[in-house]
């Protein structure tokens, strides 16, 4: 059933873009693709593209992420965070992009170009290469939202495997905030929240073995 739309209603291109993050070697990385099409051919950009007919916004974000980067794992967190619709942002015409923030778990490394991309790769999120369209702005806002979510939700857990050590968790926080934290205060704060439960023990290659933790079963998920 389709009722009529008013005459002056704008038909616009509806797109999604995805700022997908992961931690690699203790550093926050963003997943970027090198464009295989005009405009901005051979420029790095956020994964993204047009929403299909009958497709929800978050489905489109997941599909673009999968198809353009060939990653194998699903994001552990996906959240819309702002909609970019300024008139001149895309030379092809009026294209409105609903920007999403995605968190990929530890171990998500293999990415390669998809059908519509030349390459896909990880870049330091705090120092990305030049980006197409307004994607540098989008990425900057995604990082800010991610930092906010560290306080409100426990989004850092989504970057890690099911069990993890406190130094690992602290490393995630530090990578996202881009600054060092005090070890004792960090542990105090996190343990006081009651969202972690200890499990077994494990050795890292060198030094004293660290206690392993997992998410406490009562703890809410990172999704807000």
């Amino acid at each position: 059933m389709t009722l009529s739309l008013p005459p002056q209603a704008t038909q616009v291109g509806l797109a999604v873009d995805v700022a997908a993050f992961a931690i690699h070697e203790g550093c926050l990385h963003a997943l970027l693709i090198e464009r295989a099409t005009l405009p901005h051919l051979q420029t790095w950009a956020l994964p993204g593209g047009f929403v299909h007919v009958g497709e929800e916004l978050h489905e489109a974000a997941l599909r673009e992420l999968r198809d353009e980067t060939s990653i194998e794992l699903e994001p552990r967190h996906l959240e819309q965070f702002y909609t970019f619709g300024a008139i001149g942002r895309d030379p092809r015409g009026r294209i409105v992009s609903v920007a999403h923030l995605a968190v990929l778990p530890h171990g998500t490394v293999h990415v390669m170009g998809g059908a519509t991309t030349l390459h896909a790769d990880w870049f330091p999120a705090h120092a990305p290469p030049p980006l197409a369209f307004d994607h540098a702005v989008i990425l900057g806002r995604a990082i800010k939202r991610l930092q906010l979510r560290l306080e409100y939700a426990n989004l850092a857990l989504e970057f890690l495997p099911e069990t993890f050590t406190l130094p690992e968790l602290q490393g995630v926080h530090e990578a996202i905030l881009d600054k060092a934290l005090d070890k004792r205060n960090f542990r105090k704060r996190l343990l006081a929240q009651g969202i972690l439960t200890p499990s077994g023990e494990r050795r890292s290659g060198v030094g004293r073995p660290a206690q392993l933790y997992r998410r406490a079963k009562g703890a809410r998920t990172g999704l807000l």
Copy 2:
């Protein structure tokens, strides 16, 4: 210049909706309109409508607010806060709405229907009438965002005239948070922020006159 769009790109209706707030009689009110068109004829809804060709999102929000409610004053704060794009949300087809939060200053009272509306009126924001589409959800999220902005920005000032008393400012906070606050703690906190400067004095009809304040000139605006 217009490059070609990919074939499967969805053309969707792009709309804006506006949750506009003001304080009346110490209570947070939202501005609603009664629809004069199908669907949801004669149902109350948020002001909103389709974005025009060549019109920025925030311009569309301001225009719809003006045209549908005939208010005379400009909002003191306008902020996009979420985009609603679920497939079934509008029976006319795929319509994506970029929802905005607006703050109207004190004294904004005269509203009446516009061309595409039967009536416009203020309703208690915490207890609205049944609303069209998914507007009840949108309004709820707008209120939550407004409460957040009380802490981060000093958005409460946007509800008041240029000069105001501390009890008035406290009343704004209480109306938005929907709970009572301690007078002394509130004053201590607000004055410690250093965003207020005293000016003259004034009498209310009854009781001891209250000190008038204005925004300190160094204080950042409510816009984030």
